[in-house]
């Protein structure tokens, strides 16, 4: 997925996530250079691959229907009034994106960490299909041992997802990319 997060001088917040589904989508490209998506893969159908859980009837294929999606551009604002913290967040990585967003919001809104630190901290993702708890490379061995002691089957992966964010607190605005992404960038207008 590709993320665009904007906090503009016009007091609008725009969070957008777009995707081709898989890298390079279906792999089909038109003579004009348009790469076609493979989004139908996000539907659920029986016997798709070995050891897949039961198909989801709610997400079955039907003409004209839109498949289940983990594209989650998210905006946060103060519940009361205008003053306070505004956030725009986006994530890639399908279901891992939902896990990533949850933990970044926890860091910012509950543990009052700054946005950079919140994005950089280690993240985990429970893979329901394999019953493995995936943790990324920021996790320490102690944390992994603690989780294993509580019965989790932990698997360490390099990167789970990229979560970018933009924050506005009163008049102070910053745009921060996930440090795990080599190409992403955040910039502000002074």
């Amino acid at each position: 997925a590709a993320q665009v997060l904007i906090m503009g001088p016009d007091d609008f917040i725009v969070a957008m996530v777009s995707s081709l589904n898989r890298p390079f989508g279906s792999g089909l490209i038109t003579p004009s250079g348009i790469l076609l998506n493979s989004q139908m893969l996000d539907f659920s159908w029986p016997n798709r691959t070995a050891n897949h859980p039961a198909p989801s009837l709610e997400n079955s294929v039907q003409p004209g229907k839109r498949p289940l999606s983990f594209l989650l551009p998210t905006v946060v604002r103060p519940a009361e009034g205008l003053c306070g913290t505004y956030l725009a967040l986006g994530a890639n990585g399908a279901a891992r994106g939902l896990s990533g967003l949850t933990q970044v919001l926890l860091n910012v809104l509950t543990l009052n960490r700054n946005l950079s630190d919140s994005l950089a901290r280690g993240r985990l993702h429970p893979d329901l299909q394999t019953n493995l708890l995936q943790v990324d490379s920021e996790f320490t061995e102690e944390e992994i041992e603690f989780l294993e002691a509580r019965g989790h089957h932990v698997e360490k992966v390099d990167v789970l997802s990229w979560v970018h964010g933009s924050r506005r607190t009163n008049n102070f605005i910053i745009g921060v990319k996930d440090p795990r992404s080599p190409d992403a960038a955040g910039a502000t207008i002074l």
């Binding site: 503009g8 989801s56 997400n59 604002r77 299909q129």
Partner: protein, 466 residues
Amino acid sequence: MAAENEASQESALGAYSPVDYMSITSFPRLPEDEPTPAAPLRGRKGEESLINPVKTDSSSYLIGKTDLRTRSWKYKLESSKPSPSFETCRRQDSGVGAECSCRQDGLTVIVTACLTFATGVTVALIMQIYFGDPQIFHQGAVVTDAARCTSLGIEVLSKQGSSVDAAVAASLCLGIVAPHSSGLGGGGVMLVHDIRRNKSHLIDFRESAPGALREEALQRSWETKPGLLVGVPGMVKGLHEAHQLYGRLPWSQVLAFAAAVAQDGFNVTHDLGQWGLGVEGKPKPFLPMGHPPLPGSLLRRPDLAAVLEVLGTYGPAAFYAGGNLTLEMVAEAQHAGGVITEEDFSNYSALLEKPVCGVYRGHLVLSPRPPHTGPALISALNILEGFNLTSLVSREQALHWVAETLKIALALASRLGDPIYDSTITESMDDMLSKVEAAYFRGQINDSQTAPVPLLPIYELNGAPT
């Protein structure tokens, strides 16, 4: 006796001559040093009486010199204050005029005070303008997956484009710079929030299934007929819809920003270089120039520049209304076993909705509604909120709670889908947003052990990371 009188008169006369050195070296004497004259001294318009009552003998002259130098300082200090003698003198001379002069002094003080005050306020205002808080909100921020597109977004904002103008340009740019993850042939979702009015819009331009697509066909041939995987791309229509609602610059100009990136070229990103090699390390035939571009090398996409110019000139109709672009996409997909038709393109529409909303730690959290999994995200936050996670709780304990909570949220997500085709989705969504439901799930989580079996049934989740 008569001769002495003559001499003193002469020296007195001499003293008044403008060129004799006595007048140069003689300094004014302070009035209080003067013995009170028996008769008023006569001087030039009374000034001389100020200037030079002159000592007559030399010794007193030297003493006087030193003394005078000291006195001259003293005199300077003193002169800043109107000397009583001056006032006295004036008062004696002027009679009724003296009152008038007092009033004039008072007026001077008032005018001076006013001017001083006005000057101070003016200086303060100027300093406020330059050093104080901006009175007009100038700041903004852009974050994208590619630095080239981030700077493009900033450029659009600095050219008085709206936030949505910048988002449209940046996302089209990502379709050029990061073609492996986004592009005109894909789809997505945009959440727009107006801070001042506290209003939000969700523009859902997710791909939709072609009218002729059947589950059996996918089940049988999804790996051998890639054309079957192609849904109707929503990107162009979604971006155009957003621009219609919130755009400020002309549509053609916004697209021209992105076209310039394709025409002028861009540096290949690490990500594109890596994915270009393919997951199995085999180059993909559809890559520009037929082989994976090297990270950092300059790459031009004149083909996409031409497409963007056509879309800028003719709008989404050039993409969806059976033009050349439409025919090419239909032909390419059908050639690879797909079932998409021109009609699917002409029937496609982007949805304008409201995002789902939850309250978490005094903040509104807005996220896309189904078929997106925003309700599951809000459910996870509702469950975690009840744990009262503070910095006092150990990180390990917090991680365990987060893991167990996400298992529940993802299981709930696996039961979502397109609410237009299944009315139960809306009910599931309402349950997910309920804090009562969240409290029930929180009660099911064991603080010290992971649940041996999943708490909820798990359905197939689209799993491949995009």
